[in-house]
Symmetry: C2
Subunit: 209 residues, 2 copies
DNA sequence: TGAATAGTGTCTTTAAGACACTATTCA
DNA sequence: TGAATAGTGTCTTAAAGACACTATTCA
């Protein structure tokens, strides 16, 4: 089967989208989104995962990556099993109006069914690690965002403070976002330039941020 | 099922250990070492892979890591299938006397059964990438080695030249190898200090070499 | 002594981080 | 004008790379 850890940023905090299981084992417990591969329908496991995610949130996740395959006799009380685990990044703005979605900060994830806590731990580790040397966190933002939005999600996902000037410099040098001409976010302060993604693919950096 | 890409360094070249398939499909073709999980015997897929590798080379590989899970209808003519792929690093000195082992330079791998060429491509990519920021290549060396041995396998796996002085400095700073007191490799030149691994686990570096 | 490999010192280049400064808006 | 956020300039620190130098052995 396949399982997916769905990450989002809500109120400037890195969160996981979880659901409650309907059937035993672990009926009523929180769990990642998962399902069985439909051999007739799914050309491979990634396509099965896309289908599972679409059925949860209604659309394709902007970023999806295979994480690890968990297997063994210990992870499911019914016996030996295999799960190909994925993680996906989803901008909160795309799901905030969906009443069936609930998100938990990664520091406050409830007890989970099966070995899903282990999957979550590995997914968080991968996300944090890739955030230090790639454009990964940008997939947590909506299509238009300010430099400060980006700054904040990098700090959130990496878990440390980053200098404003160095961050701006480093990001612009990587060339994966571009200014949107004449679009600014306004407020009781100087208007902020809006940016958008210029490359839809994950951009790895030469060095860390 | 599980498949394993076995890397080794022979004559200063990065090689893959391949075997010929006995049964159809692809009977007679070269392929990675693989096998089915024995649910009774293997506590998880990694243990199954260890068993497969032991049956090929006679002992456990010094380094083994899960690579990626390949799945789909296209990879096996018999229909939809899943393979959890691993890669392992093996010092050539441990297998050079084994007549059933044949190794091919990674730039000259023959046509392979199933999607094994794809698995190999991904394994090489992972190996090269991790070599730039971890102690990974050291697992290709025997227990005693000189700084130059280490230098050469890094150049081999990464695929670029590395400055001798910078390399030495960077490696010693990482603290995953230690001098063996009063042990030198001699020849028609100044004797070379022998080193051994001081930490059996993979050490990631802060920055690249 | 010359060939071969081992090992070191030092300078240059480049990236990262600290931090203070200027800019623009609204109340 | 003061609060708030946006955006820039400059200095310091540290790592990486280039490269030349010294060291030790054997033939």
């Amino acid at each position: 089967m396949v399982d997916a850890a769905l990450f989002t940023i809500r109120n400037r905090r890195l969160c996981l989208i979880l659901g409650r299981r309907k059937e035993p084992p672990f009926a009523g417990a929180f769990a990642l989104s998962g399902g069985f591969v439909h051999v007739e329908e799914d050309s491979d496991a990634e396509m099965a995962t896309r289908r599972v995610i679409r059925s949860k949130i209604g659309f394709d996740a902007p970023y999806l990556e295979q994480l690890f395959t968990f297997s063994g006799a210990a992870r499911d009380p019914r016996g030996w099993s295999v799960s190909i685990a994925y993680y996906a990044l989803i901008p909160w703005t795309l799901v905030e109006d969906n009443p069936s979605i609930s998100a938990f900060p990664v520091e406050a994830v409830p007890a989970l069914a099966f070995d899903h806590s282990q999957i979550v731990a590995k997914a968080v580790e991968r996300l944090r690690s890739k955030a230090t040397y790639s454009s990964l966190p940008v997939f947590l933002l909506p299509t238009e965002f300010t430099m400060n939005d980006l700054h904040q999600i990098y700090e959130q996902t990496i878990g440390t403070r980053l200098d404003k000037a160095s961050f701006r410099h480093k990001i612009l040098e990587q060339d994966f976002i571009e200014e949107i001409a004449n679009r600014f976010r306004t407020g009781a302060h100087r208007p902020a330039q809006l940016y958008r993604l210029s490359s839809k693919v994950l951009t790895p950096f030469e060095r860390k941020i």
